[in-house]
Every structure is written in C-alpha cells, then in structure tokens.
C-alpha cells in the first residue's frame, strides 16, 4: 500500500497521525513521515541479511534502486519484548523502514507536547513529543530517531563488507523521494 503524499492540513494546529503498535505498546507517527506501508511478508524475498556490530535491531536491508533501506525492528529499538513484526513503514526522508506489529488507526492530534525534560536519555531522540488522545498519552516517534548517524555509518560499513554498496548514496545526502 503506497500512501499518498499528505495534503496540507486544514488547520495549522492539526496533524494527521497513524497510531501503531509494537509489542503491545501504542505509538504515533505523523502520516506525513510514512511514505509507504508494506506487509513484512511482501518484502521477505527482496530483503538481504545484514549484521553490523552492536546493532541488533537491524537484521535486514532492502535495496530500492540505488538506495538501501535498513529495516529496524521496532520492538528491539524500544527495548520491548521481541516481536517479529507484520508491517513495515517506509519512512520518508530517512533510510529507515520500521517493522511494527500493526496499525491501530489513523487520526489527528491537535497538540504535541514536548517530552518533559526529566526524560533525558535516548528517548529524547526517539520522540518528537507526547500527545493526549482519548484520555491516553501516546509518544509521537521521530522518524530520524531510529538510526543515529553513527549507526548508519556502521551499517554502511557492513554493506561495504557485503559488497553491496555500489551506487549507495553517501550518508547525510537527502535520498530521492
């Protein structure tokens, strides 16, 4: 399923989001950040195994033309109970495809609150903030927060070792949408 590029929201204060689950935990992501939703089964033939030291959350890489998309296991990224994942979010303007359990629903948020400053570790890279929806608080993920530049460098090095790096866009360049 390919998602259409989002149209400008009617209200400046409203943002379309997708609520999704990873190991039973609910998260939100801006629908504008999701380029494509695929079933994990549909990419199983196209994905190649990859192993980079210290990056257990990425085990597969997907070739897309001259780009490589690293498949990040959402459960392992967030330190949740391991789950296989059934759906894949291809994240716009990143080299990440996120493996999730499923989509809960699409909705909109009217207010994104900054993550309280007490949260002062990796979660500050993971989340754009928190939103209150139906009397629940849901973290809104940051698409760029799944792979740091150091992790991307390690993954690129692993790709080079695999001999699959020809034509790969150097890190930091904006990938072609």
């Amino acid at each position: 399923m390919r998602l259409a590029a989002p149209v400008k929201p009617s209200s400046a204060k409203t943002e379309q989001i997708i609520l999704f689950r990873v190991s039973g935990q609910l998260f939100a992501i801006s629908s504008a950040s999701v380029q494509e939703v695929r079933s994990a089964d549909s990419i199983s033939g196209a994905a190649t195994d990859i192993s980079a030291p210290g990056i257990r959350k990425v085990r597969h890489v997907l070739r897309r033309g001259d780009r490589s998309l690293f498949i990040v296991n959402g459960a392992m990224h967030f330190g949740l109970h391991a789950a296989e994942g059934t759906l894949l979010f291809v994240l716009r303007k990143t080299r990440t495809a996120l493996l999730i359990d499923g989509i809960e629903k699409m909705t909109s948020m009217t207010r994104l609150q900054a993550l309280p400053l007490s949260f002062c570790h990796e979660e500050r890279q993971w989340y754009r903030g928190l939103t209150a929806l139906d009397q629940a608080v849901i973290p809104v993920v940051q698409p760029e927060g799944f792979l740091s530049s150091e992790e991307l460098a390690l993954l690129d090095a692993a790709l080079l070792q695999m001999g699959n790096s020809d034509g790969e866009a150097p890190e930091g360049e904006n990938p072609t949408p």
């Binding site: 998260f27 967030f78 400053l117 007490s118 949260f119 570790h121 209150a132």
Partner: protein
C-alpha cells in the same frame, strides 16, 4: 519570638515516604493529588515511571524512594506535584508519597559540602531532624544525563 527570628522562618511541605519524612520548600509545590492512571512508554531514564495527565499537562512521575530510603516503595497514597528547575525552564514533576503532607513554618539550616547533593538543608520539627530536598538534584534532568555520560566516559577511559 523577635521580628528578626520570625523573618528567618520559611514554609515547607513535609512529605512521608515509608517511615521517614522529608521536606520541600512550599514555594516549589504545585499540588497534592490522588494517584491516577499512569501512562507508560519506553524510555531509558532511571527513576521515571511514566506520566500522568493533570490539568491538561503531561507530568512525569519520578519515584525518589529508592534514592532516599535505599528501597523502592510500592504503596503510594498521593502524588506530590512540585516544580523542578531545568536551567531557566521550570516544569512539574510528580513524586509518589505514602502519607499525608503537612505545611509547616521552620528555620532551615543550609546544607554543608559533605551532605548529599539532593540535600538542600535541614530543619527540626516535632523532635525530628528532617532533610530538605533539592529536587533539581534528586530528580533526573539533562544535567544528570551529562554527568552520567561523563562518568561513563571516565569509566571507559579507565578500562
């Protein structure tokens, strides 16, 4: 009591954690609320349990019992919501407490260098000597994260 002695009295809220009582400057207290639903999500900051929704604000819950008592208390009666400073920014943080809180006026003796960083001072009340808490040192924030990374860096350097 002389006027000068009266001027030195400050207001504190006494909170109970298990068998012990601690004090926080009353000016830092926002409110005392009944426990409500905690929303949990993945994170890596120690001592933070999750967040609660209060008056439209998302307030982190910080369990300080382990740091203050050396053991974690599972029972809780209220959340004491206090203001925590993060440099120029101020935010609410909720601390679980196990009993009623009390507002008192007392004179604080300032902490000395040998006191733990989370001790802002001491006061005497009802025959007890009570720690006045420095919430900025007791609860997590960017400065602790930086100190933590620096300590980790030093530990690595030693290896």
């Amino acid at each position: 009591m002389t006027v000068s002695a009266e001027l030195e009295l400050q207001s504190f809220v006494l909170l109970r954690l298990g068998e012990r009582r601690f004090a926080v400057s009353a000016g830092q207290i926002a409110e005392l609320v009944s426990p409500s639903r905690i929303f949990r999500f993945p994170h890596r900051t120690p001592k933070l349990e999750g967040v609660i929704l209060r008056r439209g604000r998302i307030v982190p819950i910080c369990d300080v019992s382990e740091m203050l008592l050396g053991k974690r208390l599972t029972s809780r009666r209220f959340y004491l919501i206090a203001v925590r400073n993060y440099g120029p920014q101020r935010e609410w943080v909720a601390m679980p407490v196990t009993g009623e809180c009390e507002l008192i006026n007392a004179e604080m003796i300032a902490a000395v260098e040998s006191d733990a960083p989370h001790v802002a001072g001491w006061l005497s009340h009802g025959g007890e000597v009570i720690e006045v808490l420095n919430l900025d040192a007791l609860t997590p924030g960017p400065e602790q994260a930086l100190a933590g990374s620096a300590a980790a860096g030093r530990a690595e350097a030693r290896l």
